[in-house]
Amino acid sequence: MPKRKKKEAEEIGFVTTLSVPSEGSAGLTGSWRVFIPVLDGERCNKCLLCWIYCPEACINKDIRINYDYCKGCGICAEECPRGAISMVKEEKKQ
């Protein structure tokens, strides 16, 4: 019987499912957005509730929204006690 050579997988070492927080490993998730949060700076009193509640950490302490990753969930607008954030239908850019 002819001996078949066993094809070994490439030596890849120790590979696990461990991950560390890093920006954008799933791509620019902002492209999933239908409604975009728009901040009215006049009404905002910088209470930072939006910063606390944003599940994607897309609002920083200066109340700047990171539109690259904001999926438009609207939680910030829902939580804002002064109605300073409104959700606006976004025109899809190509």
């Binding site: 997988a9 890849i12 070492g13 120790f14 590979v15 696990t16 499912t17 461990l18 991950s19 560390v20 927080p21 799933a26």
Partner: protein
Amino acid sequence: MRLVETGNHVAAWGVRLARVEVVSAYPITPQTQVIEEISRFIDEGEMQCEYIPVESEHSAMAALIASAAMGVRSFSATSAHGLAYMHELLHWAAGIRLPMVMVNVNRALGPGWNIWCDHQDTLAARDTGWIQIHCASHQEILDTVIQAYRISEDPKVNLPVMVCYDAIFLSHNYMQVEIPSQEDVDRFLPPFRSLWRLDLHHPLTHGSVIYPDDYEEVRYSMFRGMENAREVVKAAAREYRETVGGYHGELVDAYGIEDAEHALVAMGSMASEARVAVEALREAGHRFGLVRVRSYRPFPVEECRRLLAGLQKVLVLDRSISFGMEGPLYSEVKASLYGHGDAVIYDLVTGLGGRDVTYEFIAENAVAALEGRLDAGSVWPSVRLNRHHLVSKSGVERLGSKGGAR
């Protein structure tokens, strides 16, 4: 120190000597004594250990995964339905490569509530990525629990280890054991140095979403880790013998195999009985040896070839059944020997649900194999009807052809 103790209490001693820091478990017969004894050790200040009481085995394994991910030496114990209930989490613990040790007391699965010995529970968990070591004596339970941490925490392995031993025969019977000194165990088993730990300042997570382009490599790495475990299991057994004392074989424990013409293959307490059968068979002029499979995963493929390939007849003893196929141990022994030698391989499926398997029974069937009176493939020679079966049969008959549901 010498003690006369149950296998369960002996396992607890192994956990204590291994300086385990977190135990999370849910009681289930016949395992409960393990965690009772550990609780007592903690209560009396003999163990510096956090005991997490949980509401189920699923939660027990979830808590253990968390503590192992914190880089803490962790332990649990379960049995049968408990192992089945935590099945999904078994995959998680192995899949994210967490070192930990769990005792599983081999018990039959219901229905038909049965708290007695059977290997179906652990063999059904075969492909979870856990290393499985099956013990045949109380001393081996103690020594293996300690060795298991060395194996599991080896950076070349980084997989959880299940230490398996038979319900009642080993879990509840009393046997004499030598308890090694803490100093000797400490020399064998250094403190656990985890490859990672959960840390607020260096955040990381395990097991989040993984795409088709990434997944296969993770499984291949687990496969390699399990392959590496072969050498690590052997080295742990040898180093334990030198440092602490006590030796029960490596991937297999062979007996009388050097000049054997035929062999028995078994696991657990049934292998101890098979050893007596080997002696009886030899007295009757049949040169049998015994290969006790100690490590079921990784499976001792090379050892089976080396020890069995040149023999004439091999009789495997299976204490579980793969429905629609045959005894699982039989399948694995045959697979190992494929293309190696021309031994005729037989299989007894017996001892399920704690049915006693005597050395006379094993020897009788071995002689039947020699004389060509045993069919190849899995046979069930201890099956017979008793009066309890007749009760259930008569119940079915009373319903008659009309059926009871109408």
